[in-house]
Every structure is written in structure tokens, then in C-alpha cells.
């Protein structure tokens, strides 16, 4: 009897997919491709690496680009290209974990606040307001000081810092959705809050969730890389793009910028891809709501 | 092309026309291609005369008003001629265009969207006077308070200091009307000024507009989808469908003696409070925009109850008849029978 939005007629669904592709545009497709490549590198990069990414060979320290090693060697004589490929895993895994955790937490809080409204909403909103006072990096530094440096401490700190941003956006959307007449109709029919949220509100704000998540992965990548750059995140010698900049920064004034620049470029490329895709998805999400 | 002069339908002459629209065709870029929203629209307004412009959504009535006020979106292609007081409106620019705008005032449909929410009412009302007429602020405020009184807002001084969100929709619309009158215009374009308001406020607003028009001797183009509303305060009514004028008639005779099947259907579709019917009359199909309507034939043919083969072969011209105009080739023979027939 009740048809959630995802159960639309097949023609409507096809129409939606076409509309999404149109909203994303060619640039969005390119971004998606870049992201997919990065994910493949994250999953299987180590296998594709032409050389051993971990074995130092100080005699090759900072040697420039050569025939078989297009990107040269880093400060410890390791092949940069291999290290980039191997580093993709921790560089991508961290942000994805951060986004998963903050989206899960933020969405849950937003839904509860939007559904219950009243006192629950005020309490949750006030707690979130307080969390807003902590910039992500600060929280990560604090966590590193207390728990010791490492990827997980940083990731958890960042997710905590991101949660209020997610919750705020989703709470607004959920509130708007909740005030639509069909929700009241369902309530009158006796559907429970959880069921309505699950089958109706969530699918309708899903485009917004996806768009938000995509953009946030970009931010998380930047923040995590910054923390690793500060020496408080992923610890060397684990390969990681942020760490590579940290390790190879000394080479720049000495005239060997390639390793640090290569790692920086990887970060920028993937972050741009996430940002562009996220932005387009946002436009699509808003168009769908209208 | 019109076969009859648009002046037909006037029962008295008031002098040379103030506003003259001839063969206005407007195309707007929609999704990359130019689509027609107005087709060969012609009308005339004498000074002090009120003309109602009636049609459903997509008929082009708002677009007509915007074309007259040079408010079309960028990229619009305009053919035809609009003259105001003998001047070609389309050729105006710069200071002349601004002077023109002072003489033609527009009242919009949704007051809340059309008033800047972060500026005070006083600022909104007096801005045109202070900028274009170089009036000192106090005098402008004084005038604003006077006009506010005329639209029924008594504590004008306090209202001028308030922000738009502090006023109700009805009040804001009165402010909009008052603001339009401040610059002393000669023509008022009212684009569905009461649609966004509740019925009681609607009748108050219409009464205000009517009184003010007579007091100031304004010409008015009153745009609405409500045939009866237009007939109530306008001397003549023009009916639009699919971007074209399909009928022009004096309002008194429009309801009882319509000259076009669409007008008759519109009038018949309105529920009569004095009667009980088994089923509400609706016009089959849906209203079309100019670019959706078939071009080689009468635009209303697909929905018309009196359609014949001849209607489908050529687009009908405007025919003069009984002091009015009609874009129906069967107008003569259908006269008198249109009200009885219906959906």
C-alpha cells in the first residue's frame, strides 16, 4: 500500500538515473573514474607496485627520475611510484572510515532529533553545538597527545569532530521531510517511527546523504593527511601520502622536490575528484527534492 | 495576424491610446532552444481605462505584463511593437528607460518574495523617489505615509520602520500597491495581485485597487485567472490561451454573451454558489503554453466542444464581432449558443 520513493515505476527510475547522469556531467564522470582508480590502488596497489615500497636503500636516496623509475626515489631510496601505490591504502582507508563513522553517528542523531523533536531535539542540538567548538585537527592533536600518535586515534577524533556538521545538514532535511503530509498519514495508520524513518525518510534524503559523504571524504583526506604530515597520524615507515610529504619535505630546499610533490599531487587529484563529484551530487539531490 | 483593430470592444473613446501593443511575439530560451510563449498579442489601453487579462497558467498573461515593463529574462527574443504615449518602449534605454519605469508601475503576485527582506519598509517604499526624483528623505517618507493611509494602513510611521517579516501577507501587498503609486504612474500593471491572499483580503485588495485607480485616473492592466474578478473591476476583459488573445469584450457582456468557446467554458467551469450541480464542469485536457500548442490550427481545437474540420486547417485570425474580438472562425454562428453548451 505504501510505496517508498525507491519503489518508483521502472520508467521513473530510469528517468532518475538519466537525470543523475546529466547532473553529474562529463566532469563528474571523470572524477568518478579517478576515484575508482584510487580505490583500486587502495585495494590492490601493493600488487601493482613495480618495486618494493618498503625496502630502504640509502645509496639511492633522492635520486631523480630514471628509466624504470619514473618518479624517482624518496629520501630513503625507495621507489616513489611503488610507495604511492602502496600508500593509497592507508590514505584512502582512513578517510573512508572517518566518513562512515561520522555519517552513521550524524545520521542517527539527526533522525532521532528530527523525529522526536521537542526536548530530545533541543538536547541533541545543544550537544552538537558544543562539538562545533572543536576543530577537527585540534581534536586529533589532543587525541594524539593523550592516546599516542596513530591512524585510529586520529580517525576517531576526526569522526567526532565531523559528526555535528553531518547532523546539522541531515537534521534540516529530515525535519523538512517529516513535515510533509504523507508522514502524518503514515503515522495515523499506525506505522512506527523507526519504520517510517527507515522506509521513507531515509530513502528520500539518501541523495543528500550520498552527496554529503562524497564531499566529506575529500575533507577527511585533507585533514588526515595534514595530521600525518604533522607526524601525529600514520607513523613512518608505513606508506601514506601525507606521511610521504612529511618524510620528504627536507628534499625540497635541497632541490629534490619530486617525492613530496608526487604525493601532494595524488592527494590533490583525489580530493578534487571527490569534491567535484560531491558538488554535482548535491545539485542533483536538491533538484530531486524539488 | 489580427484582422480587426484592437480598439474594437470599446464603448466610448477616451482619447488616443496610452499603451499600444501590436503583434507581440516573445520567445524564451528553454533548455537551450527558443520557445514561443507569446504569439502575436495585440491590445490597447486608453488613459484611465482598466483592462482585465484572464487566462490559465501558461497562457502568457504574466509574460505580457513583463514584456510591457521590459522585465523579460535575458536571452528573450521580442518581436512586435509596444508603444507607450507614442514612444517605442523596446527602444528605450538608460535614463529614458528609468523614466518610463516611473510611469509604469507593476504590482507583483507574491509580496513576500518581491520585497527585500533585509531592508525596512520605509526604505523599500521611498527608494525610487529618493533615487530618481532626488526627493529629500523626509518628504519621501511623508508621501509614503499619506499613500499608506490610502491603502488602509493607518500607523504608517511605525510601519515604515518595520521589516517585511513583521507584516502579514495582506499588509505587505497593500504596501506593494502603495509603493507602486508613490511615483505617480499613469499605468498600473497588476500581475495576479490577490492570488497569494485569502478570499477576504482579496476582496479588500480589489476594492482598494479599484478606488485608487479611479482617484488617480490610472490605466490598469489587471491580470488574473479569475474571470469574474476581472469583470468586477475592469471595463474590458481580454482572454488569453496558449500565448494568444482569443477574446476581447466589454466585461459587462463577457459572461452572458461570450464570443469564444474557451471563455464560455471558463465561465461555465466556475461553480455557482447559488446552484447545486451533480458534477463540477471542467474543461477536458490541460491548458497549454504557446510552444506546446499546435501551430497550424486553432490552439484550442483539441479541447473545444464545438470543433470542426475547418478549425484544424488554419490558425484563426481575430475577428471583430458585436463590439468585441474573437479568435474563433465559428464565432458568428456560435453566438448565443455558447453558454448553453459546455463540457
Amino acid at each position: 500500500m505504501t510505496t517508498p520513493a525507491t519503489d518508483a515505476w521502472p520508467a521513473q527510475r530510469r528517468g532518475r538515473r538519466a537525470a543523475m547522469l546529466r547532473a553529474i556531467g562529463p566532469l563528474g564522470i571523470v572524477s568518478a573514474v579517478v576515484i575508482v582508480v584510487a580505490i583500486i590502488a587502495a585495494v590492490a596497489g601493493g600488487w601493482f607496485a613495480p618495486d618494493n615500497p618498503d625496502l630502504p636503500n640509502l645509496s639511492l636516496s633522492f635520486v631523480g627520475s630514471t628509466a624504470g623509475h619514473l618518479l624517482g626515489y624518496d629520501f630513503e631510496g625507495r621507489d616513489v611510484l611503488s610507495r604511492l601505490l602502496a600508500g593509497a591504502q592507508s590514505s584512502m582507508l582512513g578517510p573512508i572510515a572517518v566518513v562512515c563513522m561520522s555519517m552513521a553517528g550524524g545520521t542517527l542523531l539527526a533522525l532521532v532529533a528530527a523525529w522526536r523533536r521537542g526536548i530530545t531535539d533541543t538536547v541533541i542540538s545543544s550537544c552538537l553545538d558544543i562539538l562545533f567548538a572543536f576543530p577537527g585537527i585540534l581534536l586529533a592533536v589532543l587525541a594524539a597527545a593523550v592516546f599516542g600518535a596513530g591512524l585510529w586515534a586520529a580517525a576517531i577524533a576526526l569522526s567526532v569532530a565531523y559528526t555535528p556538521y553531518v547532523a546539522r545538514v541531515l537534521r534540516g532535511a529530515a525535519l523538512k521531510e517529516r513535515s510533509l503530509p504523507y508522514v502524518a498519514a503514515l503515522e495515523v495508520q499506525g506505522a512506527s517511527g523507526t519504520a517510517i524513518c527507515r522506509s521513507h525518510i531515509v530513502p528520500n534524503v539518501l541523495p543528500l546523504i550520498v552527496a554529503q559523504a562524497t564531499t566529506m571524504i575529500g575533507y577527511a583526506m585533507v585533514d588526515l593527511a595534514a595530521i600525518s604530515f604533522l607526524g601525529l597520524g600514520v607513523q613512518p615507515p608505513t606508506p601514506n601520502w601525507g606521511v610521504m610529504i612529511f618524510e620528504n619535505e627536507v628534499g625540497i630546499p635541497q632541490g629534490y622536490p619530486l617525492p613530496a610533490l608526487a604525493a601532494g599531487t595524488c592527494i590533490v587529484l583525489v580530493v578534487v575528484a571527490f569534491n567535484v563529484l560531491g558538488e554535482r551530487l548535491f545539485t542533483y539531490a536538491q533538484a530531486v527534492r524539488r | 495576424m489580427s484582422a480587426a483593430a484592437p480598439t474594437a470592444g470599446l464603448d466610448e473613446a477616451h482619447g488616443p491610446p496610452l499603451l499600444k501593443v501590436t503583434g507581440l511575439t516573445v520567445k524564451l530560451p528553454v533548455d537551450g532552444t527558443r520557445r514561443a510563449v507569446l504569439r502575436d498579442v495585440s491590445l490597447e489601453l486608453r488613459p484611465g481605462e482598466a483592462l482585465g487579462l484572464v487566462g490559465e497558467s501558461g497562457s502568457g498573461k504574466s509574460m505580457t505584463a513583463r514584456a510591457i515593463d521590459r522585465l523579460l529574462p535575458p536571452g528573450a527574443q521580442v518581436d512586435g511593437m509596444i508603444t507607450f504615449d507614442g514612444q517605442n518602449v523596446g527602444a528605450l534605454s538608460g535614463a529614458q528607460l528609468r523614466a518610463y519605469r516611473l510611469q509604469v508601475a507593476m504590482v507583483f503576485q507574491d509580496p513576500r518574495a518581491h520585497v527585500n527582506p533585509v531592508r525596512r519598509i520605509g526604505d523599500f517604499m521611498t527608494e525610487a523617489l529618493r533615487t530618481n526624483r532626488d526627493l529629500p528623505a523626509d518628504e519621501a517618507r511623508h508621501r509614503a505615509i499619506t499613500v499608506l493611509g490610502q491603502v488602509g494602513i493607518e500607523d504608517g510611521d511605525r510601519r515604515l520602520r518595520q521589516y517585511p517579516h513583521e507584516l502579514s501577507g495582506g499588509m505587505l501587498q497593500r504596501v506593494m500597491i502603495a509603493a507602486a503609486l508613490l511615483t505617480g504612474p499613469r499605468l498600473l500593471l497588476a500581475d495576479e495581485p490577490t492570488t497569494a491572499l485569502d478570499v477576504i483580503t482579496q476582496s479588500e485588495m480589489v476594492a482598494i485597487l479599484d478606488d485608487l485607480r479611479r482617484d488617480y485616473g490610472l490605466a490598469m492592466l489587471f491580470i488574473t485567472h479569475d474571470l469574474e474578478l476581472a469583470a468586477a473591476i475592469c471595463d474590458r476583459t481580454a482572454v488569453m490561451y496558449a500565448g494568444q488573445i482569443v477574446e476581447v469584450r466589454s466585461s459587462a457582456r463577457l459572461h452572458d454573451d461570450p464570443l469564444h468557446p474557451y471563455t464560455a467554458a471558463l465561465a461555465a467551469a466556475r461553480p455557482d454558489i447559488a446552484m447545486t450541480v451533480g458534477r463540477l464542469r471542467a474543461i477536458p485536457g490541460r491548458p497549454l503554453s504557446a510552444f506546446e500548442a499546435p501551430t497550424g490550427e486553432c490552439a484550442f481545437a483539441p479541447r473545444c466542444a464545438h470543433v470542426q474540420d475547418a478549425c484544424r486547417s488554419t490558425p484563426p485570425p481575430l475577428i471583430g464581432l458585436a463590439g468585441g474580438l474573437s479568435r474563433c472562425i465559428r464565432a458568428h454562428e456560435l453566438r448565443g449558443r455558447l453558454e448553453a453548451a459546455g463540457a
Partner: protein
Amino acid sequence: MLIRFLLRRLVTLAASLLIASFVIFAALYLAPGSPLAALSGGRTLPPASIRVLEARYHLNDSFPVQYWDWLRGALHGDLGVSIVLRENVSALIASRIWTTAGLVLYAAILIVLLGIGLGIVAGLRPGLLDTSTLVLTAVAAAIPAFVAAIMLILAFAVQLRWFPVLGNGTGFLDNVRHFTLPAVALAVSSLAIVARVTRAAVREEQGRDHVQTAISRGIPVRRVILRHVLRNAAIPVTTIAGVTVASLIALAAVVEVAFSLNGLGAYLVASAQDKDLAVVQGISLVLVAAFVVVNLIVDLLYAVLDPRVAAGGRAR
């Protein structure tokens, strides 16, 4: 109206600050091991030092009392002692705070002037300038401060030798020279975001109905743009500019490390690595307070710009 709104924001932000201070303080207890171990950073201390620490931090008192003591001390300017340098934390902070403040201010000026300026120009003039702005900002927005830092170091300091690479410099003008590259690195990505949002806001305002009304009343285009388009666009622009400047406070740490500037951020990171907890707490408190103050100023500006807010809405 405005006053009441401000007071409400002030109270909320004060509460945030209070709870934040609590979290910062409680970090001492979250650390694995005893607070003593956390304070000493895992170093072994002679018994005399241990007694000093116990007395100074009231480690034998109950938790709420300790918190209250710490808070009271903080309000009076006493933030504890650095284990590493054995000096008062407040003095250590004071000597470094102007570096960070100067850097953030320099970057903020760049963001506000260049970012908003670029956004306005691009928003008002569709065409080549607009498209190129869009492309540039899309890329720039994704360049994290530390990547921008190394790129700038490479380009200007090493290759072109226009600007010095590292350090603070001496004297005001020299300081400005030394701070230019770091400020630019800090500002790049935020500048791009502000420019994009400004452009979008200006575009959106241009299409609004009330702008049509103003034009229909014969008001000159220039005036319409100033008093209606830009004035209204200022609302979302202030929000994003404020949020971005606030975020600079934490981001400055990264740039300070990259350029070897002697600021609070760099010191915070070093202390975190050294596990000098008292310093970490002290600096965190200062940074969070600064963040809260900036947000308060943004809220104030927002309420001034948008009269609907003071009437009962929330700033965000």
C-alpha cells in the same frame, strides 16, 4: 531584539567553552595510566618532583575539585607548568601567540579581500572570467595547506628566491616578508571556497524576485546591485567567510610546522609528540576560546545583516 539574541548566543558559546574546557581537562584522565604518568609523559621522576606535581595539580583531591582548581587557575592565567621546558605554560603561550595571531590575520585578510572580491566579480560578469574562476577555484579548494606550503616553498623560496623559506624574521616588515608564503599557503584553499560561495550567492541573489521589483521601479542597475544583490548576498558570504577564518585557527598549526614558524600551532604539535600534556591542554584551551570568540563575532555580524534572525531564528 538584537541584544537579546546576542546574549543568547553568548550564553550558548560560554557553555560550549565550559564543556570544552572540561573535555580538555578530562583528557588527563582518559590517558592510559595514571594522571601522574600522563603529566610526566611517561618519564620517570624523582620523588621530590612527584610531590611537587601532586601538590600543584591537587592529584590527591577528587576529580571535580581538581577540575575547578584547574579552571580557576586558567581564568587567572595559570595554565600549569611544562614538563619539558619547566616554565609556566602561560608564559610559553604568550611568547608565541603573536606569531599565530599575525599569521591567521594575514591569511584572513587575503581570504576576505581576494576571495570575496573574486567571487563578486565572477558572479556579476558571466563569461570567460567566470569560467576560469570556477576552474581555478575548484582545483585550489582541494589543495591542503601543507601541499600548498611545499609547492610555495619550492616555487618562491628555492627557485625564485623572492621570499625567505623558514623562520619568523625580525622587525615588522621582515615579519611580513616571512609570513607571506605561510599566509598564502594557509589561505589558498579557504580563499577558493569563499570565492565559490560568494559567486554562487551573488548569482542567486541576482535572480531573486525582489531584485526584479527594484528594477521595475526604475532604480539604476548599479544601485540595485549594491543595495539589493550584494547587500543580500553578504549574508551567506559572511557565514562562509567566518567559518573559514575560524578554521584557520587550527589549520595554522600545519603551516607553522611546514615553514618552521615559532607559533602556538607548531608548539602544540611538538608538545603532543613530546607528551607534554599541560602545554597541550593550555594551548587547546586558548585555541578553542579563540574559535568560540570568532564564531561569536560571525553570529553578531550575521544578526546585523539579517534582521530576520534576531526575531527568533538561530544564526545557523
